[in-house]
């Protein structure tokens, strides 16, 4: 069973690499946030798998809950920030930044 867990953990990590590419390249800022959100969700899964490999899931599951909750908080904050203050393609907005928003 450990073999399957190690393999699935490595597979998860390898599948995160294309998403990493999207974080680095992604044409708009929100593309990057979506990619970060996906990686955050999968990090919670990886924490559970690591816990199962160490035979100590009871400890790691608390981290995973906290990580999942804070991940949602982060994407919500980013969505509201970009909804109001910034255009998508990264130019500075015309009325002199976000000073009065």
């Amino acid at each position: 069973m450990d073999f399957i867990l190690i393999c699935s953990g490595i597979a998860l990590f390898l599948m995160m690499l294309p998403i990493m590419y999207r974080i680095v390249v992604g044409p708009t800022a929100i593309d990057r946030i979506v990619a970060v959100n996906v990686i955050g969700t999968k990090t919670a899964v990886l924490l559970i798998i690591i816990g199962a490999l160490f035979h100590n899931v009871a400890m790691f599951v608390d981290f995973a809950i906290a990580y999942a909750a804070l991940n949602f908080l982060g994407s919500l904050a980013a969505a509201r920030y970009f909804n109001r203050t910034r255009p998508a393609y990264g130019q500075v907005s015309q009325e002199g930044g976000d000073a009065d928003e």
């Binding site: 009871a58 400890m59 608390d62 981290f63 809950i65 906290a66 909750a69 804070l70 949602f72 908080l73 919500l76 904050a77 969505a79 509201r80 920030y81 109001r84 009065d100």
Partner: protein
């Protein structure tokens, strides 16, 4: 400019990685951390003397109580500093009237937050109270609890969150946390022992000397959690509104 940033990051990263060679090996018996009498004392005697299975909590809240107390004070000072720098009073004319008041993030986000907020808060209290047995404690639980209020402010608007956790209440809670911590130490002093020596409290707490230390750790963690919660929310509300506290993100 970006290129110089990348170059400096690579150079600093290389220096940091090259410094890791000088660390002692993993589990090296002769390293200073392992050869002294202190670590072995903690490892062997902590559970026997304090009845706390999680050694980290015992070291953090009992053996090194001074350290944690002033860490909490540092967080308090950071929050006070942010308020002192950013907070502006009086009306600011640059905002049009119709933009004051923050309606939140839409129906879907509000419904989701109303579903998950109670569980996040419950989990935060669990992390605070269960720090004796599993990873956790005042700082982590306080961050989760503060994050739940930040989530409320993001989903329902800052005005809704401020009706639960107003600015005055924030400052009162932040000070109350430190008051609990220091007051517990002074209580030990009054009972005729050293400052923050919890074993003096066995005459007023149930369960003997060991359980007195265990309960005292819980009380101290609650103080830390109150301060961290209040300062987290205060920082968010000041930073996201540029100190005006009128309209969230």
């Amino acid at each position: 400019m970006k290129f110089f940033g990348l170059l400096s990051v690579i150079i600093v990263g290389f220096l940091l990685l090259s410094a890791t060679k000088d660390f002692p090996n993993w589990g090296d018996e002769d390293s200073p951390a392992n050869s002294g009498p202190v670590s072995s004392f903690y490892i062997e005697k902590t559970e026997e003397k304090t009845k706390v299975p999680n050694m980290v909590t015992a070291v953090l809240a009992d053996y090194r109580g001074y350290d944690t107390m002033f860490e909490t004070v540092v967080i308090f000072i950071a929050g006070i500093g942010i308020i002192a720098v950013l907070r502006t009073y009086g009306s600011n004319e640059s905002i049009p009237k119709n933009q004051v008041g923050d309606e939140g993030a839409g129906l879907l986000a509000r419904m989701t937050c109303s579903l998950i907020l109670p569980f996040i808060q419950l989990f935060a209290l669990y992390v605070v109270a269960h720090g004796h047995h599993s990873p956790g404690g005042g700082f982590q639980g306080g961050v989760m609890l503060g994050a739940s209020y930040i989530l409320l402010a993001l989903a329902y608007g800052l005005a809704r969150a401020k009706s639960c956790f107003s600015e005055k209440r924030t400052l009162v809670f932040a000070a109350l946390g430190i008051f609990i911590y220091v007051g517990w130490g002074v209580l030990c002093l009054v009972m005729g022992s050293e400052f923050l020596n919890y074993s003096a409290l066995d005459s007023i707490l149930p369960g003997g000397v060991e359980m007195a230390r265990s309960h005292s750790m819980l009380a101290v963690e609650i103080g830390v959690a109150l301060t961290v919660t209040a300062i987290m929310f205060s920082m968010f509300s000041n930073l996201s509104t540029k100190g005006r506290l009128d309209k969230g993100l």
